[in-house]
Symmetry: C2
Subunit: 414 residues, 2 copies
């Protein structure tokens, strides 16, 4: 069952907004056995919307549209849909009441502009929006293809998506999809590919393997599609076992990212963690605390951006800073041991480096970073990396390197 | 000049990777006067690549493709391009040398798989990849449309993009684009729209206005496209002045996001900042340190995830925690004042709340957050918000609310 996603919004084509809506929707659709065939971003333009809609109805089994449902003049999706499908817009009583309530609650008047939010294609299924004034709508075409239109505000769209899935599941009969992602570290993509070439060559047609390299790690995704659940499961499991055997020296877990693997390790072992970050500026803390339940393993951290904080909060010695400079093995060791002691945790991570684009020197160019991990007994492991890239990419990759160093420290000791 | 972007990769359709490549490319293209007409994400599939390529050549003036150039079996872009355009693949001597050097430097052998990376369409313009083994290529069709193919790894693609721009600029004659984005806070989208309805109605055809709401703020983007630079500039400037006058009560700056506005304010005023984060888990620190030169204004912060850290590092009183609970106005006040004193800064921000999905109670449900800001004299401002959403969205919006509170605190005093 091929679903096409159309994201409407000039902001997507102007590079002002990252299309996270498409990512969220795809992930959800796949989980429920739908295939996403195309993701298309187009402008707030009548002709473009019309063309994209007609093309999607030709090549796909259904289409989900986001964006262009707001109250402002650049929001033209609803009118365009109604015109293309030749359905009049009528005021929906229940939606009008929701819009009225929305403004009432906020002590604001119901303006004419806002009242128009209750105009919806006649006889469509209304998808309620509990967080905004733009209702979603679901229309079935004469060829029994569903067209679903949702607001583009991620938070509102996400809250409405369970109903979208339920509408799709009622309307279409879906196949079965099995999927597993293996996180791999410590080997380059081409060498991994050579290592498992035999395995890939012998994969049955219903199973696909994909490589997703990301900042020092590779996600290997095995996907199976079919109709007979038991048969598919058997084939999938046996191939998964084969793959796991092949990559066992580099396999670090089934989670989607290394922060989730780290979180799981700490949770399983009932251990606690602290961070001391200079150049990664709180991003390691952020990655760890994105995990639900992080408070059970993560006590906290120090973002030690200035030397003053390194000294006063983390007890890095003035002499060490003076002698070796802030970006040095000596300083990162004092940082990691300092935070581990300060926050009374079982383990700690620390980083210090030059994210750039300014601040580099000949001896320590932009992209230089020292990372360290330690346990409460004082056992410490350090690593120097050189990541000459953009500031945001440096922060991302440096954070990953630090988490990987802790994982290798833990595995070494396991 | 309409350029179409085609991003190839199963991972995009499976929702495993956010398409940040398209955002980066669009932003760059717009800056150089190109219009991005479509962004299309498709699977690593011969037929899909072929269809997308042919469609884009029909409706656009040029196409940039990312992905599918790696050494593994799921990388089929190059072969598909060569077949569709009927051009043979030949070994490129210079690329082969670069691939060889790449592995030499790493002490790794040049395998057959990697050697294939040097096979490129005959007579194409090679775009060097200094960070990986997949070269880019640029082909001009018989209709003088450019097809540019780049690797999908963001870091590699970005480094190659200046040459892409230079190739495009040599090949096409572009129009002029002027653009300005106004960051607006403190007013809802529909009320803003009503407020500037006259302005919008009277906009000349060459100027467009777009609304981009994001977590408590709205970006208003004014774009002008034309050919006569001076004429376009005059029209654009006069309309921009009109718009600024209309929204002056809610206008907070021209930067792309509030963290950049905060950073600019602190830099301009030579002031320093500290953060104390519980539920936002380091994300505010991360947002601030994404700004180049952050170290001149940001001394550091405490991620006080556990009560123990709140007490021992930030000097929050045990009694306050016991009496009011960690998520309370009293605690957030002690946190913000604690960190401001500890790190000797001019200002500080603090957050404490329940990101969820677990940890809520009837009295303090998931989504509850207290934020506070203060200056070194002890003047403090607090705010309670309720943001019932997903964990990652909560963190994003709560961080924005905290930065907005500090901005309002600063404006109040200016």
């Amino acid at each position: 069952m091929n679903i096409e996603i159309i994201n409407i919004g000039d902001e997507l084509l102007l590079g002002q907004v990252v299309n996270t809506n498409a990512t969220f929707m795809s992930k959800e659709l796949i989980n429920y056995g739908f295939n996403v065939s195309h993701i298309v971003a187009i402008a707030d333009d009548k002709k473009e919307i019309e063309d994209a809609l007609l093309l999607s109805l030709k090549r796909s089994d259904g289409v989900i549209i986001t964006g262009g449902l707001g109250p402002t003049k650049d929001d033209i999706t609803k009118e365009t849909l109604a015109r293309v499908l030749n359905i009049p817009l009528v005021e929906d009583v229940e939606t009008l009441q929701m819009v009225r309530d929305y403004f009432n609650k906020r002590g604001l008047p119901l303006t004419d502009t806002n009242r128009q939010q209750a105009l919806l294609p006649k006889d469509c299924i209304v998808i309620k929006n509990n967080y905004g004034t733009a209702a979603g709508m679901c229309i079935s075409t004469s060829e029994k293809k569903l067209i679903i239109s949702l607001p583009g505000v991620p938070f509102e769209m996400k809250a409405m998506f369970p109903e979208v899935i339920s509408l799709l599941k009622t309307h279409y009969k879906t196949g079965i999809i099995l999927q597993k992602t293996l996180l791999i570290a410590g080997i380059g993509e081409s060498f991994l590919s050579d290592m498992i070439a035999d395995f890939e060559d012998n994969l049955p047609q219903e199973i696909k393997l994909a490589y997703l390299p990301n900042a020092g790690t590779i996600r290997l995704r095995l996907t199976a599609k079919g109709n007979d659940e038991q048969e598919l499961k058997d084939t999938f499991e046996s191939n998964l076992a084969l793959l796991l055997e092949k990559v066992k020296d580099y396999f670090i877990g089934f989670e989607q990212n290394i922060s989730a693997i780290l979180f799981k390790h700490f949770t399983d072992n009932n251990q606690t963690l602290a961070t001391a970050e200079s150049c990664t500026g709180g991003n390691i803390a952020h990655l760890i605390t994105l995990n639900t339940g992080a408070s059970s393993i993560y006590k906290g951290g120090i973002v030690a951006y200035s030397n003053e904080v390194k000294e006063r909060v983390l007890n890095v010695k003035t002499n060490t800073l003076k002698h070796f400079g802030a970006v040095s093995e000596q300083v990162v060791i004092e940082m990691v041991q300092g935070v581990c002691k300060l926050l009374h945790t079982d383990y700690a991570i620390a980083t210090t480096g030059i994210a750039g684009p300014t601040g580099g020197s000949e001896e320590k160019p932009v992209g230089t970073i020292w990372i360290a991990v330690c346990d409460k007994a004082g056992n410490t492991k350090t690593k120097k990396c050189f990541i000459p890239t953009t500031r945001d990419n440096f922060i991302e990759r440096a954070s990953n390197e630090a988490i990987l160093l802790l994982l290798s420290f833990l595995h070494y000791k396991l």
